[in-house]
């Protein structure tokens, strides 16, 4: 039993809160199922389903905090986990940055759960693999992919009467298709909350097309190019930049958002006029839980508006110290765009490079958020509005803070996920000038 109803979850959390003799107590109960299927060389390699459920109890005596967890929920186990948390709290050093547990919050539910996603079966997972493998086998191509689905619930409560419960679900699909000789490689990715919007048969055609189209790539000289970044390609750079939006680090002088002479750049225009990003837990396509990791209620939060920095992430401690209001930390990142697709942006491009996917993005210099990484699985040269030929992959050295000042055009946002990002994202295809490629890669 891993998906508890709201009543069942509340009963468990209430028991824990009631059992605590500490100055304050908060508890979270998270559980769910995670299914996956992995395939490579046109054959299924692994598949499985994992269920898990954990109760975490955090208590405080003064400024001493202890946390303990359990995956047994009978009365004795709940009592025991609370006692253990209390014992740890008594042994812990005082935390000078301790913050009392949050007051009662008002959570407005968001649409994070799909019955259809929750009903995914092993047969469905196998059908996704088959939908990718079969056309590849027939076409002398090789598929390697991963499909994972989840259904879960999250419940939180504390000794100040706060309570929240919500169910979530989602799927994530990626597939790489390579030609048998290894000279061509294409990729497709889809991240959705509702599986009914997913069609593996249609998605795989994108990867197949790119695999075929990327054979015999030509080498272009590294340098500055106008690029069309597909949403998945720029998401990794943009979400990396968000690590620099921490208010404390900015105030401490160690972020690209630190101000010369002290303080931070909140309120300053640092990006192109057309760059607007916000967080919204209730966004129809990218809904997330209406509370953050501390249980604070999330709000619709402008992050960048018309190029101006409108948000820095204040921890509750730092907010109090700086006299700011702590708000729920964003769970999604939505970049505003237009109506054009990636191919529409290609059509309007005289000379440029189309980037399908970026890879192994790492921070080179935190001072400027300079990132390095590579293009992968479908990089093409554009001339006079058409894809002319495949080109060899490039290594880039580019800062998203510079990239978002070199915007030429913004397309229609689509939902993307990145396995190194904490956000569900809505990112548009972007046309960017002077994107810096520093060397060629022979990798296909």
């Amino acid at each position: 039993m891993s998906i508890y109803t709201e009543e069942q979850a509340k009963a468990i959390l209430d028991k824990a809160i009631k059992a605590s003799k500490a100055d304050q107590c908060s508890a979270t109960l998270n559980g769910g199922f995670n299914g996956n299927i992995r395939y490579a060389l046109n054959s299924v390699s692994t598949s499985g389903r994992v269920s898990d459920c954990d109760l975490a109890v955090e208590v405080a005596f003064g400024k001493r905090v202890g946390t303990a967890t359990t995956n047994s929920f009978d009365d004795a186990s709940i009592e025991a986990v609370v006692r253990r948390a209390e014992e740890l709290a008594r042994l812990a050093p005082e935390n000078p940055e301790f913050m009392p547990t949050i007051d009662k919050q008002a959570y407005k539910a968001s649409s994070t759960f799909s019955e259809k996603t929750a009903a995914i079966t092993p047969e469905y997972r196998a059908s996704v693999a088959a939908a990718c493998i079969e056309p590849c086998r027939k076409d002398k191509l090789v598929a390697a992919g991963f499909f994972t689905d989840s259904q879960a619930f999250s419940a939180i409560a504390n000794s100040k009467g706060n309570f929240g419960y919500q169910k979530t679900s989602g799927i994530d699909f990626t597939c790489t298709v390579r030609t048998e000789d290894g000279h061509g490689s294409g990729w497709v990715a889809r991240n959705l909350g509702d599986v009914s919007k997913f069609d593996a048969k249609s998605e795989i055609q994108t990867a197949i097309g790119k695999a075929r189209g990327s054979v015999d790539a030509k080498a272009l000289e590294p340098g500055k190019y106008t690029v069309i970044m597909e949403p998945a390609a720029s998401a990794g750079l943009i979400s990396f930049m968000m690590f620099g939006f921490d208010a404390r680090q900015s105030d401490e002088g160690r972020s690209f958002l630190s101000k010369k002479g002290g303080g931070n750049k909140l309120g300053e225009k640092l990006f192109d006029e057309r760059v607007t990003m916000y967080a919204d837990p209730w966004d129809e396509q990218a809904a997330v839980l209406p509370w953050d990791n501390d249980g604070l209620a999330r709000e619709r939060t402008p992050i960048i508006t018309k190029g101006k920095v409108e948000y820095l992430q204040y921890s509750r401690y730092w907010a109090q110290k700086q006299g700011k209001k702590a708000i729920g930390q964003p769970g999604n990142l939505i970049m505003v765009g237009g109506d054009k697709s990636t191919m529409d942006l290609v059509k309007g491009t005289k000379k440029g490079v189309l980037v399908t996917r970026t890879w192994y993005i790492r921070l080179v210099d935190p001072q400027t958020v300079l990132l390095t990484g590579l293009t992968r699985d479908g990089t093409f040269y554009i001339e006079d509005g058409e894809i002319k030929y495949p080109i060899k992959n490039f290594r880039f050295n580019e800062s998203p803070a510079i990239m978002l000042n070199n915007i030429e055009e913004i397309g229609k946002p689509v939902r993307v996920a990145d396995d190194e990002s904490p956000f569900v994202m809505m990112i548009p295809p972007l046309k960017i000038r002077d994107f810096t490629f520093t060397s060629l890669s022979d990798a296909v």
Binding site: L91, R178, K260, Q367
Partner: protein
């Protein structure tokens, strides 16, 4: 816990330590000292083996794991978090109808174990319908009931939390006194209590310990708005708490005066040096891009070895099993057959899971194969890969090299990187000797930014400390340095490797691979090495 959650937990973001995954539930510190007795584990294992056989498995292995982790996280004068986690359960892998099946459970009752074994067999049978070729498993002779333990002197889990907190806060205070503006310091301690049993007749009990003490020291110049970070020069090791003894005999003074460490680490001394060097970095000369001869310290070179040799010579990547995520490899089987020249004749790179004090060292791997050492590149020529039991036949090998690992009882074991190390040079040479012949070079100490393509051709590496070398002497510190390389050209430009007296380890505590992702820990040994004519770029940018 995902990497992003870890970042949140440590309260350090951009420009700080980027580390993934830890799993488990939080437990009391005292619980880290308890163990499950071997007789009970054998009883559980036999239940699984018998149930799997009865259900039709032709092979079964059982891993009963108890994975303990402790994290002590501090900044300046504050303890941010002390976390103890435990994850325990049983993972059962079978071959039925020529196909793998796997199931795992945390429920250690006889019924649940037998049920999981039957589920593994059922999954294998279901998957056999789409299996192209039956699994071919290299033989392993059962070893009966044996045990192995990391040869530690001090069990980290027995050291009181107060001592650990005092150590880190002392380190932090020393760095702050030496002029640091900020310091984050962490202790990561791992104990894997692993029991393996198989239908081959092995019952292997292992007790594996690892330790890592990373830190980051930041200097800020508010006037210019500039900040620089100098990370610690320690290595994660397969050792106990004795690694932090900081013995004078393990201290190495390099040309130019930088101090690095061998088999024990003086964290406080390094923190003081880091504070001074972080300040120095604020005003260091920015590098002129171009061709330089690189002199790479083992504290840096380990990561280059890891990315450009360790990963491309993993056979599953070569074959295409990681094509969708980690990628494939340029070092294809035809290159191996044609005796591909991977590097210069100075380059001999070996794999092992036996070097004392390394992260990869175990007695047996996660499919019961006794660990060993073998050459991957011999005098510059590609001679071998890293394989597990179901891959050995592809290379015509009669046995596995013992590279199988799972990061949890609940994860399926698969091929992971062994320790991969550059053999020391055969002729006597110290770093002080090596530098004398370099006319126009850069000396790089410590690992920094790293990135490599999905076939492991094109890589870019930064570092912690960079020094200009002119006519055999260090002239000044440099900043904004990164080198870009193409793997075969880079290793063929290797002109010299210092001797065994300079041999030291670096390593990765959280090397990621697979979908769903798993982590593993791996060490890389080397002596200081010289690479001629590398392409160095300048990474400074202006945000206006």
């Amino acid at each position: 816990m995902e990497r992003r959650d870890f970042l949140k937990m440590t309260g350090i973001g951009l420009g700080s330590l980027l580390l993934p995954a830890m799993h488990g539930r939080v437990i009391a510190a005292e619980a880290l000292l308890t163990r499950l007795d071997v007789a009970t584990k054998k009883k559980f294992a036999d239940i699984a083996l018998n149930a799997a056989r009865s259900a039709g498995a032709s092979y079964c292995d059982v891993r009963i794991g108890r994975y303990l982790r402790q994290f002590v996280i501090t900044r300046e004068d504050k303890v941010q978090n002390v976390v103890n986690t435990e994850s325990s359960g049983i993972g059962i892998r079978v071959i039925a109808k020529g196909t793998w099946g796997f199931a795992a459970t945390s429920d250690m009752s006889a019924d649940a174990i037998a049920r999981a074994a039957r589920e593994a067999v059922a999954i294998a049978k279901a998957n056999s319908k789409i299996q192209a070729k039956p699994v071919e498993l290299a033989p392993v002779k059962g070893v009966g009931e044996v045990s192995w333990a990391t040869p530690i002197v001090k069990n980290s889990m027995e050291v009181p939390i107060k001592d650990k907190v005092d150590l880190l806060l002392g380190v932090n205070a020393a760095a702050m006194q030496a002029g640091a503006n900020f310091i984050n310091s962490i202790l990561f301690l791992v104990n894997e209590q692993k029991y393996f049993a198989s239908t081959d007749g092995s019952y292997i009990d292992q007790d594996v310990h690892r330790i890592w003490a990373p830190m980051q020291v930041t200097a800020v110049d508010q006037k210019t708005g500039k900040f620089r970070i100098r990370a610690g020069l320690s290595a994660p090791r397969g050792m106990g708490f004795e690694y932090l003894d900081g013995n004078k005999s393990d201290r190495v003074e390099l040309p130019g005066g930088a101090i690095v460490y061998g088999d024990s680490y003086d964290m406080k001394e390094d923190a003081i040096a880091a504070a001074k060097q972080a300040k120095e970095k604020l005003t260091a000369q920015t590098v002129k891009p171009g061709k330089y001869d690189l002199m790479l310290d083992p504290s840096h070179l380990w990561l280059t070895i890891h990315e450009s040799v360790g990963h491309p010579l993993e056979l599953d990547r070569v074959l295409g099993y990681e094509a969708n995520y980690a990628g494939t490899s340029f070092a294809t089987l035809d290159k191996w057959r044609d005796k591909f020249r991977y590097g210069s004749d100075k380059v001999t790179i070996f794999a092992d899971k036996v070097q004392k004090g390394t992260l990869g060292a175990v007695g047996y791997d996660d499919e019961g194969v006794k660990t060993q050492r073998w050459d991957l590149i011999k005098d510059g020529i590609l001679v071998n890969y890293q394989v597990i039991r179901d891959q050995a036949h592809i290379l015509g090998l009669k046995e596995s090299q013992g590279c199988c690992y799972a990061d949890s009882w609940s994860s399926v074991q698969f091929q992971r990187m062994a320790n991969v190390s550059l053999a020391p040079g055969k002729q006597a040479m110290s770093p002080h000797d090596m530098i004398k012949d370099i006319e126009n070079g850069i000396y790089i100490i410590g690992d920094g930014s790293f990135s490599i393509d999905q076939q492991r051709y094109n890589a870019q590496f930064g570092g912690q400390l960079f020094y200009e070398i002119k006519n055999g002497k260090i002239t000044q510190p440099l900043e904004d340095v990164a080198y870009q390389m193409r793997t075969p050209e880079f290793w063929n430009s290797c002109a010299a490797v210092c001797d065994e007296k300079d041999y030291r380890f670096g390593g990765s505590f959280f090397d990621g691979k697979g979908q769903p992702g798993q982590v593993s820990a791996v060490s890389h040994g080397s002596s200081t090495a010289r690479f001629n004519g590398a392409n160095v770029i300048n990474t400074a940018r202006s945000l206006g």
